[in-house]
Every structure is written in structure tokens, then in C-alpha cells.
């Protein structure tokens, strides 16, 4: 029981089942509207927003394929417009094709400047890419101070967490939740989930009980939040509470997200149900490979984690972590690639990754609390001794 953590929401939220029902309903309506008149104002834009929500919260990864269909059709009917370029940029960013997204944004900027949506997307890409994070941080602070909206505070807090400013990140998340004055459960569930990740996975000393609390809250607000279920199941598995973990994952199977099968395989293996576990692991493996074939950059980091873990293919993990690092050289991507290199026995390449991480991130404060800090400090000391 962590009473002090209670989410102090100002007003009640729309029930998660209603919100999901309405999202799916609105998403289908947007498609219908788009096919009737693809050039209609906001027709394509609404689809991108709603498909992103479906992927983010419902684990509906077919959203990536549907967005590809969207951009193909936009190209057919309105190829040259800045509007289509922005849709392209959004869909490319969603699939982690950041360089492509940036190219589209540059095209739009050359043709008369970026809209607010374009600027916002550019900022998201810089954040995901780990580019000029001080400027991104300043912009995030400015935007969230002006709007006060939870949807703007969450990216600020996530950036602070990336920069290893964990206390402030925690405060920003909690402030955002406390000051939330809308009825949609999506941003609140998202904030709770992020707090779970912060306490369970990002903090140097993970606090599983806190992570459990926030994941549970996220699911309470949005019962079909697939990622929250997967992460909470992981926490339960750590406690040995396999029955509860299984109960969490079973309702998430229809989403088709391979992470559900992966976690379920781990749970079943721990329960001693070897054949069932292997079947789930096979489904997870084929699910990841199908996703990687179509959307490599979007799922490279997740795939690397899978193969580093019970997916049990160190070489594939290293390959994917390298792809992810090349696409998005964040400190976390360096750490993942380094671990994968070591596990794959690629000591020389691991050393090169450390050197590259130092070169890119050595001056950043976050670097000092990364796993590279020790070797960096050792080198500095030996340099000092030599001098």
C-alpha cells in the first residue's frame, strides 16, 4: 500500500471502456470520411492522431500498416501539397523513420514555413533522436508552462527522465496529473504508465512497488492499455506472482502485440508449463519478425530487447540494437547496443560503442549516471595520472 502516491485527480474521468469504444468508433468514422473525400479538411490528420492512439494504448500495431495506406492514398490524390508532406512526416516519425520525417519537414519549411503541428513534430523528433536536447528542454518547458496541459507535461517529464533528472521528472508527471481538468482517460493513463517506467526501469535503483502502483493505476483508468499490462506482468513475474501476471496478459492477447506473447511465455515458463510457454514464444518470435520486416526502425529496440531476453538470440539482438542506434543515437540506445554487443561476444565493437557514446554524450550530465560513466571516469583518472 502506497497511500502517499494516490493520484489526486481533480475530476472524474470517462470510463476507459467508453473512451476506447469512442476512439475506435471515431477512428472508423475518420476512415470512412477520408475515403469519401480524402481532401476534406482534417480528414487525414484525424486518422493519424487516432491510429497513433490505437497503437500506443491498444497495442493495435496494424495501425502502422493502415497509416502506410493513408500516405499512399494521400500521394495519389494530393502528392505535392505541404499537407501531404506533413502527413508523411507524422507517419514516418510514428514508425521511427526520423530522418525521412525530418526531410519532409524541411520540404514544408522551404515551401513557406512549418505550422504549429509541424513545429511540434520537429520537437518530438529531436527529442526521440537525442538532438540538441538543451534546446528541446527549453522549448518543452516553455510550451508546458504556457498550456499547463498534461499532454505537454508528459513529454517534458519524459525528457527530464532521459536526462536523468529523475526527481524533477517525477514532480512534473505528478503535477500534470493533479492539475488535469479534462475527462479523457488517455493522457492520465499515459502519465501513470510513464511514472511506472520511471520508477521501475529508469531510476538507478528501481522501486518495483512504486512501478506496480503506477502501472495498476494506468490499467485502472484504461483497462485495455496493453503496454501497461505487459509491464505490470513483468513486475508480477519478478515477485513470482505468476497467476496474477497470466490473468493480466490473457485479455491483451487479441491485440496481437508480440510483447504480450513474449511476457506470457516467460510467465508460463516460470509456472513450469513448458509446451505452452514455447508456443507463446514462437508466436512472439514470428510476431516480432513480421513487424520488423515491415517496420524495422519502429520495432528495432523492442526486437533487440526481446532477443536479448528470453527470445534468446544474442546476434539478432545485437543486429537490431545496432540498427536502432544508427537510427536514434540516444544515450539509452548506446547502452542497449553496448549490452547487446557484450552479450554477443563482440568486445571490440562494444569498445567502439563506448567510445562513440563518450564522444556524443560525454559532456552531458546524464552521461555521468549512465553505465558508461565508470569507464569514462577511469579513463579521465588515468589521463590525469599520465599528465
Amino acid at each position: 500500500m502506497i497511500a502517499a502516491l494516490d493520484v489526486d485527480l481533480a475530476y472524474p474521468l470517462t470510463d476507459g471502456d467508453i473512451a476506447v469504444n469512442n476512439l475506435e468508433s471515431a477512428r472508423l468514422h475518420s476512415w470512412s470520411r477520408f475515403w469519401r473525400d480524402p481532401l476534406r479538411e482534417q480528414a487525414a490528420e484525424s486518422i493519424v492522431d487516432q491510429e497513433q492512439l490505437a497503437a500506443q494504448f491498444l497495442g493495435d500495431l496494424a495501425a502502422f500498416d493502415r497509416c502506410d495506406t493513408l500516405v499512399r492514398h494521400c500521394d495519389r490524390v494530393d502528392a505535392e501539397s505541404p499537407r501531404t508532406a506533413l502527413i508523411h512526416a507524422q507517419v514516418a516519425s510514428m514508425a521511427h523513420r526520423f530522418a525521412e520525417a525530418k526531410r519532409y519537414l524541411e520540404t514544408i519549411a522551404d515551401c513557406g514555413g512549418l505550422s504549429d503541428a509541424g513545429k511540434r513534430l520537429s520537437l518530438s523528433i529531436d527529442q526521440a533522436w537525442g538532438t540538441d536536447l538543451e534546446a528541446v528542454l527549453e522549448a518543452r518547458r516553455r510550451i508546458s508552462a504556457k498550456s499547463g496541459r498534461l499532454e505537454d507535461l508528459i513529454p517534458l517529464a519524459a525528457l527530464l527522465a532521459d536526462l536523468r533528472e529523475f526527481d524533477e521528472a517525477d514532480q512534473v508527471y505528478q503535477r500534470g496529473l493533479k492539475e488535469y481538468h479534462d475527462t479523457s482517460p488517455f493522457p492520465v493513463a499515459w502519465g501513470c504508465f510513464q511514472l511506472g517506467v520511471l520508477w521501475g526501469e529508469l531510476m538507478p535503483e528501481a522501486q518495483s512497488n512504486r512501478a506496480e502502483y503506477w502501472y495498476r493505476k494506468a490499467i485502472e483508468y484504461l483497462p485495455c492499455y496493453v503496454k501497461a499490462r505487459v509491464h505490470l506482468a513483468e513486475v508480477y513475474l519478478g515477485y513470482g506472482r505468476t497467476k496474477e501476471a497470466e490473468a493480466l496478459l490473457l485479455p491483451a492477447i487479441p491485440s496481437g502485440d508480440p510483447e504480450v506473447h513474449w511476457r506470457l511465455a516467460d510467465v508460463l515458463a516460470k509456472m513450469g508449463r513448458v509446451a505452452d510457454a514455447e508456443a507463446q514464444m514462437q508466436t512472439a518470435r514470428s510476431g516480432f519478425e513480421a513487424l520488423l520486416e515491415k517496420h524495422l526502425l519502429a520495432f528495432a529496440d523492442h526486437g533487440a530487447e526481446f532477443y536479448s531476453g528470453s527470445g534468446n538470440d544474442r546476434r539478432r539482438a545485437f543486429e537490431l540494437a545496432t540498427v536502432n542506434l544508427a537510427n536514434r543515437p540516444t544515450l539509452r540506445a548506446f547502452e542497449q547496443a553496448y549490452e547487446a554487443a557484450v552479450a554477443a561476444g563482440e568486445s571490440e565493437r562494444a569498445a567502439r560503442i563506448v567510445a562513440a557514446a563518450e564522444e556524443r554524450w560525454g559532456a552531458a550530465r546524464a552521461f555521468r549516471s549512465s553505465q558508461f560513466a565508470e569507464s569514462h571516469a577511469g579513463k579521465s583518472e588515468s589521463k590525469g595520472a599520465t599528465a
Partner: protein, 499 residues
């Protein structure tokens, strides 16, 4: 596990967004009044109400406190409040059900089922309520100043709350028959910490388009957006200190509207007077007089002209409020201005619940393939309506007739017979469109083939829209998707995939 932050632009709850408010004499019973409020713009066909929101229509008695350029409508203190709240969803087998509760001004409550067209009534017949999906009755056929366009909300649906009541027994018009109505969406319960959480209103509406066309007139350049500030105001009680700000914006906005045809049809004093009237933002209706599709704003206009009004004002479902408002603002009713569309998707009905049944949503299955062959090569293979030799599932095709209107009878390899009609063909653009006549469990089935050059090859899109008939939609989607996929696989095998 890593999760990057790349969230969508807006993830608010559209179910709390009010779109329109109506007040009119009941077409079924002239002794009754109907109030209706719509929420959730562009709602999907399975949309439901938020269970966290109180949906209220509030009525106050109003008196005419000034005429001509001193026109003023003064609202009394007594409220007649109709509030609807909704439950969480319940499953009944395959069906999802939502129930709601109307609290009437006399404190009685009335339970109802969402989307039940009969609605629910109190035993004495004084109150009746419907809540559920309806065709959006709003008509928006103007954009960017004075450009006429087809209805931008064509085929859209909204969630409607329609309340009908016995006018004499509820509003007691002997004490005054003129009323003002607003609709508002508010939190269902106070905050956990009421001290930190001031009362909140998600949205409210009086007369149509107070925010988007008057306070935020796109013709006014470099002015601050005051819509949020307005939405935070309490209906019937706009903050004294903010009234000058809003009044000035309304004056500027109405002045700009007046000049959109290049002519000044309003004297400055008249614009000031109209701005004052608009500042008291409630939908006026007089229950002692009839309402009609053209009576919207008649009470305001006559009063501003120093005359007695003759209609019940209000707003009916079919009132073309945008044309009425634009005509008044732009040329002071000199000449009626029509937008680009004469009516909403569906007209209202003369029977309860008066707002038209929802629009059905066509299902779409679309796929495309990029081929390593020139557009002419590919079109010569697939561009003939009567030739499906390229499709592995078609055993034979027999053509009847010629040109547009011709029929093709397809025998499939598993012995089924499908008949389709050619609706349009454009060989230079490499496109044809056809409909299904029989053989598939569908209605309103339209298929479109569209071939375009792409790089050194071609891109073919095949799009099918339909409504499932006597089969679950999912089954029909699978049938259609298989048809497309099999065809495209054969084309890829034949021409190769474009690298």
C-alpha cells in the same frame, strides 16, 4: 523497455464537446416544447456518452428590457435545469448497452436506454427524453470568408439529447413566455479536493457560433483568441470586468462581417446594439408563439429594430442558422445569402426524437501494389472490365451490354456467380468504378481500380466500399480483403514488385 514520447497532438474527450442547441415547438404536440443539445462532433456509429459528464440544458425566463439601440434581454434568476448523466457500458451478449438518467426541473428522474428511439417518458407524460446517435443536423457550407462549399459535415453523426415537455406544466408561461436556453457540459462530481479544484465547465453554448464566427472571426487580423476565456464564463453571468473586452470584440467582428460584401449596411450604433444583445448569449424562444425553420433570431432582430416580435424565435432542427446569420450580418437582411449546400445530410423529422436517424458508415477495404511494369502494360492487363483472366479466383467472365452500364457475370473457381455493373471508366486516367449487383453479402458495394505511374513502374490501388448484408461485417471484410490480396499477389507474380 524503452518507450519514446511521440504522442498524438490532441487526446481530449470529444464526448464533452457541445455542437448545437435547439429549442422549438414540438411538431407532434404544439402544447409541448422541445429542447435538444448535441455533443461529440463526427461521432462514429458506436459512439457513447461520457459517464463523467453532466449534460445540462438550462432555461431561464427572460424579459425585454430595452428596444432599438437600447435592446436588452434580461434573464431572471430562476433556473429550469434538465440534466442527463450516463452509466458505464453494459454488455448484453453481443450488444453494448448504455443507460442514462434525466433529472427534470421538478427533481424527478427518468431512466432511459441510449439509442432507444422511443425514448422514455414520465408516467404523467410531462417529460420525455431520447439520447443517442443521430445524423448531424448542422449545415456548414461556407469557408474562409464568403466562399461557398458543399456541407462540410455531410454524413457526420452526433450524440443527441432530446427532451420534450409539457410547456404549461413545466414553464408556466403565464408568468412570462419568453425564455433563454443554454447547454453546458460539466464534471459529474466535484473534485476530490474542492478547494484546489474550482468548479469547471467543459463547454457551453447559447446561440450558435458565438465563439467560432463572432468572437474568433477569421477576418480580424492579429487579434488574440478569446474563445477559451469565453468558454470559462458562467452562462447568464458573464464577468462584469470582461464584458468590455468581449463587447469590443463583438463590435469589431460584426463590423468586419458587415463589410464582407463591400457595403456598410449597419450603422455603428446598430452594431453596438447587436453586440450588446450577443453579449447575453442564450438561445431565445417564446413558448406562446410558433417556431419555424425561419424564426431563428427573429426575436432579436425585431427587438433591435424597435418592434414587437411575432414568432417563437428558437431554433428548429432544420433552421439554416449559418445562412440566416451571415445574411443578417453581411447585408442586414437586404438579400438572402445561400451557402454552398441547401440542407444538412438529412432533414429533421416531424416525429420524436425529431433529429434524423444516424448515417450509416460504409466499410472500406483498400490495398495497393507497386509493380515493375509500365502503366500501359499493366492497364492493358487489368483495365478491361470484361477481362478478369489476371485474377486467380475468377474462372470466367461473361459481358452483357456495352460501355458504362454493362454487366459482367463472374463465375468464381468455387462455383459462385457474382454480377457487377460498370459505373464509370476513364482510360486516359486508367481508372474504372463498378458496383455489385448480386452474389456478395453486401449493399452499396462500389469498387474502384486506379492505376498511376510510380517511378519506373506502376502503382495499382483497388478500393472497395460496402455495407455488409446478412453477414457480420468482419466476415465480409475478410471476403473482400482476400479478393484484393489474391489479385495483387497474381499481379506481383506476373509483373514483379517495384523495387
Amino acid at each position: 523497455m524503452s518507450d519514446h514520447i511521440d504522442g498524438p497532438r490532441q487526446i481530449g474527450d470529444p464526448a464533452g464537446d457541445l455542437t448545437d442547441l435547439f429549442a422549438f415547438t414540438s411538431p407532434e404536440n404544439p402544447a409541448h416544447t422541445v429542447l435538444a443539445a448535441n455533443v461529440f462532433p463526427s461521432a462514429g456509429v458506436t459512439a457513447m456518452f461520457s459517464n463523467a459528464i453532466n449534460h445540462s440544458i438550462v432555461v431561464r425566463r427572460v424579459s425585454v428590457a430595452g428596444l432599438g439601440n437600447d435592446a436588452k434581454f434580461k434573464a431572471g434568476d430562476k433556473e429550469y435545469r434538465f440534466s442527463c448523466k450516463f452509466d458505464v457500458l453494459q454488455r448484453d451478449g453481443e450488444k453494448t448497452i448504455q443507460r442514462g438518467t434525466l433529472t427534470c426541473p421538478d427533481g424527478r428522474t427518468l431512466r432511459f436506454v441510449v439509442n432507444d428511439e422511443k425514448g422514455a417518458s414520465t408516467p404523467d407524460g410531462v417529460f420525455r427524453v431520447f439520447a443517442g446517435l443521430r445524423s448531424d443536423p448542422f449545415l456548414l457550407a461556407w469557408v474562409g470568408g464568403m466562399k461557398r462549399v458543399p456541407n462540410l459535415l455531410q454524413h457526420d453523426n452526433v450524440l443527441a439529447i432530446v427532451i420534450e415537455f409539457d410547456t404549461q406544466r413545466v414553464l408556466n408561461p403565464r408568468e412570462g413566455s419568453l425564455f433563454g436556453a443554454i447547454a453546458e457540459t460539466t464534471p459529474l462530481a466535484a473534485g476530490i479536493n474542492p478547494v484546489d479544484s474550482p468548479p469547471l465547465r467543459y463547454d457551453w453554448v447559447g446561440r450558435p457560433e458565438q465563439t467560432n464566427m463572432r468572437l474568433n472571426n477569421s477576418g480580424l487580423k492579429d487579434v488574440a483568441d478569446v474563445r477559451d476565456l469565453w468558454n470559462q464564463q458562467t452562462p447568464f453571468a458573464i464577468a462584469e470586468e470582461l464584458q468590455p473586452l468581449f463587447r469590443k470584440r463583438l463590435v469589431d467582428s460584426l463590423t468586419e462581417w458587415d463589410m464582407r460584401d463591400g457595403k456598410a449596411d449597419w450603422a455603428p450604433a446598430e452594431i453596438n446594439a447587436a453586440a450588446n444583445v450577443y453579449l447575453d448569449d442564450f438561445l431565445l424562444f417564446d413558448v406562446s408563439k410558433p417556431t419555424s425553420d425561419t424564426s431563428f433570431l427573429e426575436i432579436e432582430k425585431k427587438t433591435l429594430r424597435g418592434k414587437s416580435y411575432t414568432t417563437g424565435g428558437g431554433r428548429t432542427v432544420d433552421a439554416n442558422v449559418i445562412d440566416i446569420m451571415i445574411t443578417w450580418w453581411v447585408n442586414n437582411d437586404r438579400e438572402f445569402l445561400h451557402g454552398g449546400s441547401p440542407s444538412a445530410t438529412k432533414p429533421g423529422t416531424k416525429t420524436f426524437p425529431y433529429e434524423a436517424a444516424p448515417n450509416t458508415e460504409l466499410q472500406t477495404v483498400a490495398d495497393s501494389v507497386d509493380l515493375a511494369a509500365s502503366p500501359d502494360q499493366v492497364w492493358s492487363a487489368i483495365g478491361k472490365f470484361g477481362d478478369l483472366t489476371w485474377h486467380p479466383l475468377a474462372a470466367s467472365v461473361r459481358l452483357t451490354g456495352e460501355g458504362v452500364g454493362q454487366l459482367r457475370t463472374i463465375e468464381t473457381i468455387d462455383g459462385k456467380r457474382i454480377i457487377e455493373r460498370l459505373e464509370a471508366v476513364d482510360n486516359p486516367q486508367r481508372l474504372y468504378r463498378y458496383t455489385n449487383v448480386s452474389g456478395l453479402p453486401v449493399m452499396d458495394y462500389t469498387g474502384t481500380f486506379d492505376l498511376k505511374p510510380k517511378g519506373s513502374g506502376s502503382s495499382v490501388e483497388w478500393r472497395v466500399q460496402f455495407l455488409a448484408d446478412n453477414q457480420p461485417t468482419l466476415i465480409v471484410r475478410i471476403i473482400v480483403a482476400t479478393l484484393l490480396k489474391t489479385g495483387f499477389e497474381a499481379l506481383t507474380k506476373r509483373f514483379g514488385a517495384l523495387k
